[in-house]
């Protein structure tokens, strides 16, 4: 189910303001790619263009191409709703639907596809997704209680279960651990390690140890100054980015000399 993403000359605008400029990148299937860089450099904005979630913000638009297995996400007649069903997303703050039970949260995406499922099929999917998110043992006795009663780390894993329940091709994670404690963070990182055997994963993180732990490739984004567009400075194997990057700015950033 995992797919290759190719980005060609991508610019992102918020009305007149150019937020991200000239990104070219190839993301291989069944790998974890990390985006690092200072706040406001456009890495979250760029991540959102990979499933057209930036369109939620009025005035946001894109120039360029994003090809998922050769199909342009921004081609004419492409429905953003269908794009998002292929490219799942996990957010910075855990956001299970508070009005739904744990079970209904996992099934939320599947029910959208209007697929008629028997109760036993649904039960199987709930168990498979929750096991996939390493949450099954903790919640199997309270599937009908509200998802908001879980801890932050459990809620985030519930969100991951919800995202993988629809079997997407790609999983985008926007700082998934920044609101979590170290133990929960570790649980999510272990989970990412397991998920990459099936999914293409792209993760935005401010935690450079996390980037070096979980990812095969790392992209460093930077911004020249306020009001300037963010740019992709360097994109290479994670080991290279953290040991001997080609660009001086990357080395300064990963070694903590600025940013």
């Amino acid at each position: 189910m995992s797919k290759r993403i190719q980005v060609n000359d991508l610019n992102v605008f918020y009305s007149q303001f150019k937020a991200v400029e000239g990104v070219n990148m190839v993301i291989e299937p069944r790998s974890v790619t990390a985006f690092i860089g200072p706040s406001g450099c456009g890495k979250s904005t760029f991540l959102r263009t990979l499933n057209r979630m930036h369109e939620v913000i009025p005035g946001a638009r894109v120039e360029g191409e994003v090809l998922v297995d050769g199909n342009d996400l921004y081609g004419p007649g492409v429905d953003p709703v269908l794009v998002r069903r292929q490219v799942g997303m996990v957010f910075q703050r855990p956001n299970p639907f508070p009005t739904m039970s744990i079970r209904d949260n996992v099934l939320a995406g599947v029910k959208l596809n209007n697929r008629r499922q028997s109760k036993s099929e649904q039960d199987d999917l709930v168990e498979k997704s929750l096991r996939g998110a390493n949450l099954w043992n903790e919640v199997k006795d309270r599937l009908n209680l509200p998802g908001s009663g879980l801890s932050g780390g459990q809620q985030q894993r519930l969100c991951i279960a919800r995202a993988i329940a629809v079997s997407p091709d790609v999983l985008l994670m926007d700082e998934p651990c920044s609101a979590l404690d170290p133990i929960s963070t570790l649980a999510i990182e272990d989970l990412i390690e397991e998920l990459k055997t099936e999914y293409t994963i792209v993760i935005v993180t401010h935690n450079m140890q996390q980037a070096s732990r979980v990812s095969e490739k790392t992209a460093f984004f930077n911004i020249a100054g306020t009001g300037q567009p963010g740019k992709l400075i360097e994109y290479a194997d994670t080991a290279k980015i953290f040991s001997n990057p080609d660009v001086q700015a990357t080395e300064d950033y990963v070694s903590g000399r600025f940013g």
């Binding site: 939620v56 709703v81 998002r84 957010f91 956001n95 299970p96 639907f97 009005t99 039970s101 995202a163």
Partner: protein, 316 residues
Amino acid sequence: MTTASPQRAALRAVRRPGDRIFSGTALGAGVVILLLLAAVAIFLITESLPAFTADPDEIGMLRGATFLEYVAPLVFGTLWAALLALIIAAPLAVGIALFISHFAPRRLAAVIGYVVDLLAALPSVVYGLWGATTFAPILQPFYVWLNENLGWIPLFEGPVSATGRTIATAALVLAVMILPIMTAICREVFLQAPRLHEEAALALGATRWEMIRMAVLPFARGGMVSAAMLALGRALGETMAVTMVLSASGVITFDLISSTNPTTIPANIALSFPEAYGEGVNVLIATGLILFIVTFAVNAIARYIVNRRAAFSGAN
């Protein structure tokens, strides 16, 4: 031990004047509303007692009936008119509010918001006049059509009113009157729906409408019920518009378009008060007490319904 006790005394919370003033005014405001309510209840009860104790035959207004027989059609009419108004207004209000909060371009949304709020500023006499002189004649041919084509449904049984001043017209006018408050509250609640949950739904591949059904409406459930209750309160208590629109005869019937219509408690008080004397006044006040109790009961039921699913409300 000698040093411990002064220290403990020093640790006691200091009561700052700002805190004290604030908690005093907040408590005062809370007490005032309770006192007001108690005063209304006491007035209604003491003034109603003669109506219950006196011999029904001596009160001209009752025309030989007991008080219960007198008030039953009024309670029915009040609830029936308010319920009809709510059924008409609720979907419309939710729709308008959703359009303003989630669909309309920002500038158009502001204009529509203004227009709806303006409806709330019209005095109810204006609604009454409009309903009786303009709206009712417009609706009358439509009622004839309903009667001819759907007459087998008891709601449209007829005989059709010649003036159009029926309970259906009254309910429509009431619906227009309660629309602004429902729309305004629903709009505010919809705007409060957490962006985080809206994005979660969209990222799962929800269309705009599916996102609203998953993230906005469940979150806004309590607020929507509150809006409906406030609107229902206004519909139950509305006097002038119903008095002017409805040609009332005080019967119990579900027929929406006939010339014999049930009337409401407030409209009945307004119509009967000029000719009431002696214990007749007490009878009217007693009907007011019944309205008070009915409104209270309706609100309590609504609160109960909302609280049953409090764990899933999204407030936690």
